[in-house]
């Protein structure tokens, strides 16, 4: 056992160091390996060195190995096949599987404890020796299961939404319904715990029908599952990254709680570390959008607010020819490209890099302005552009970009919408009011590429499109950029 404790310590240190290294660009990749090393060591050591309290080793090792191997094969395959643009939903999916794992652990642990109990046929109660199952144990099982389940069902919904298979669903009084489900869940858990006194453990004390004790836990699981669905369902638009980050920290907490159950240090450090880090990341993201977590969770991107702004804006926009775009950019001194989700969808990052190199060769200064929540995840654009070998120093963050727009000749907006919407600054009724934006209207000329005039992910109209300095180019970002590149070459 002592060897295992040392190994767990090593693994915990590997997680901490790995996470630390992951937060610096130079060491990030090593950091990922460090953490993975800690994980492998911990898993292998658990299989071979873990002893139960009564000194027995683990059973069913062949089953465990098969599950590990199948999981590894499928995990590697899925992770390697996925397109870079689908990264957000992939993270969400893997997060969901972790949540599901925590959920199943709690259910099985409960069933395991039930197995130690005996049914008293005279009084129709289940009796468990109190040293086997304590109140705190039961509390940990239930709370761990609930958090894991919410994370599971929530992540699946987030996955389907990002995937496009599911649309945002909101209805009137939705958050009343959500609160109702949440309170029912809490009430049920309190009742569940209350009817499980310490001394003698009544699991079906009121039932004459001999309902299996596990059913009472599964009801809590079911309510939590429903809550997870309703929790993510109304959240849409720009708030999706926040939700993924929040669910990520949920799973971390669930893993940590499962660790408390087994007094397993590496699970506690790993889980709680992620829980805390994920929560902070969530808050940082909320700050970047200038929205409170409460607003995000209640889902204040309500349909009523959308309608107001949609009705108000119906101006005229002007289109521009590709040749003119090329001319504009080729003779500019400074061009700033603002990438958004449209770039990701069109897989236009490589063409974009080509355009940038071409312009640089012509002596044009080119930079990319990255809004913290552009795309569907923080840093989504950075990942994409890095894939196309765009050097770091070309990517500038929002504050720096905003100070540079006044000296910029051409801003090329590629499939970004909400992050450049001036309504965030001017229109107090707008759902995104208060979110810091890229102030592209400071530049001399704005060229916006979109597929259609449809509003962006947050579902709000953008008055920037009707701005006097704005010209629109409609079409797939990749095709448009390739045409621009061809035109510039022809100049």
């Amino acid at each position: 056992m002592s060897v295992l404790i040392v190994i767990y310590l090593v693994s915990s240190i590997a997680f901490i160091v790995g996470l630390k290294q992951l937060s610096h660009p130079d060491t990030a990749r090593i950091g990922n390996f460090t953490a993975a090393f800690g994980m492998i060591v911990a898993i292998v050591a658990t299989i071979f060195l873990y002893h139960n309290d009564d000194g027995t080793v683990l059973n069913n090792r062949s089953w465990i190995f098969v599950a590990l191997i199948i999981g590894t094969l499928i995990g590697v395959r899925v992770a390697q096949k996925v397109q870079m643009t689908q990264m957000p939903e992939m993270v969400s999916l893997f997060n969901g599987t972790g949540g599901a794992c925590a959920m199943l652990i709690a259910i099985m642990e409960y069933q395991y404890l039930i197995g130690k109990s005996s049914f008293d046929p005279n009084n129709h109660i289940w009796l468990v020796p109190s040293h086997e199952i304590s109140f705190s144990n039961l509390l940990i099982i239930v709370v761990g299961m609930i958090i894991g389940t919410i994370s599971f069902s929530g992540s699946i919904i987030a996955y389907s939404k990002l995937n496009g298979t599911m649309k945002d669903i909101s209805f009137k009084g939705q958050h009343v319904v959500n609160l109702f489900i949440l309170f029912s869940l809490i009430l049920y858990v309190i009742l569940f715990l209350y009817f499980t006194p310490l001394r003698s453990f009544y699991l079906s004390s009121t039932s004459q029908s001999g309902i299996l004790p596990i059913v009472y836990l599964l009801i809590a699981c079911f309510i939590a599952f429903i809550y997870g669905i309703f929790f993510v369902l109304p959240i849409g638009g720009a708030d999706m990254p926040v939700v993924i980050s929040l669910l990520n920290s949920f799973t971390g907490v669930a893993a940590g709680i499962a660790g408390i159950l087994y007094n397993n240090r590496v699970m506690i450090t790993g889980g709680i570390l992620v829980g805390a880090a994920g929560t902070l990341l969530t808050i940082l993201m909320c700050k970047a959008m200038n929205r409170s977590l409460k607003n995000v969770l209640i889902g204040s991107f309500s349909s009523s607010a959308q309608n107001q702004t949609t009705q108000k804006q119906a101006g005229v926009y002007k289109e521009i020819m590709i040749a003119d775009v090329a001319m504009c950019m080729a003779y500019a001194n400074k061009v700033i490209i603002v990438p958004g989700y449209g770039l990701a969808v069109a897989q236009a990052q490589h063409s974009c890099h080509e355009l940038e190199k071409l312009l640089e060769n012509k002596g044009v200064q080119v930079k990319y302005a990255i809004h913290p929540v552009a795309g569907r995840m923080p840093g989504h654009m950075n990942v994409l552009l890095a894939e196309a070998n765009v050097p770091y120093d070309k990517l500038i963050e929002m504050e720096e970009a905003n100070s540079e727009f006044t000296t910029t000749d051409v801003v090329l907006v590629l499939g970004a919408n909400d992050v450049v919407n001036p309504a965030a600054k001017t229109d107090t009724t707008s759902p995104i009011y208060g979110m810091p934006i890229l102030e592209v209207d400071q530049a001399k000329c704005i060229i916006i590429n979109k597929r259609t005039m449809k509003p962006g992910y947050a579902g709000i109209e953008n008055e920037l499109f009707f701005h006097a300095k704005t010209s629109m180019v409609f079409g797939d970002a990749k095709e448009i950029i390739q045409k621009i590149v061809a035109e510039i070459k022809a100049i």
Binding site: G18, L19, L22, S23, H24, P25, D26, A28, R29, N32, A35, M39, A42, I43, Y50, N52, L58, N59, N60, W63, I64, G75, V76, V78, A79, Q80, M84, M87, M90, V91, F94, T97, G98, C101, L104, M108, S136, L198, N248, G252, A255, A258, L261, Y262, M267, I268, G270, G271, G275, A276, A277, G278, L281, M377, P378, G379, H380, A386, Y392, E397
Partner: protein, 104 residues
């Protein structure tokens, strides 16, 4: 519900409480200096780390009686899902980070 049992549980697990509290501070500290360009890989890496929950599923699985097929199937699913979280998480993170090549 018995508050004294809760406080007993707390007292018998003082070191556990220390680990939890220190881990919280550590998690916050580690993340607070992250440049926004690494947010996605970091989230993904953290996602892989909470896959440590798979250890819990291995422990539960190892305690199941060999003839309890229902539990075995559930346990199998738990280990499988946990492994997916770990492996998928790390591979995806590595794929992202591979692209962050240095160019000076």
């Amino acid at each position: 519900m018995d508050m004294s049992s809760l406080s007993n549980a707390f007292q018998s697990n003082v070191d556990l409480s220390y680990i939890i509290i220190l881990s919280i501070f550590l998690g916050v500290e580690v993340i607070s200096k992250v440049p926004s360009i690494l947010h996605t890989p970091l989230m993904s890496g953290a996602n892989a780390i909470h896959g440590v929950v798979v250890i819990g599923s291995i422990i539960v699985m190892g305690r199941i009686h060999e003839n309890d097929y229902i539990s075995l199937v559930i346990g199998f699913c738990a280990v499988f899902l946990g492994t997916l979280n770990v492996v998928g998480g790390f591979v995806v993170t590595d794929r992202m980070l591979k692209m962050f090549k240095k160019k000076k």
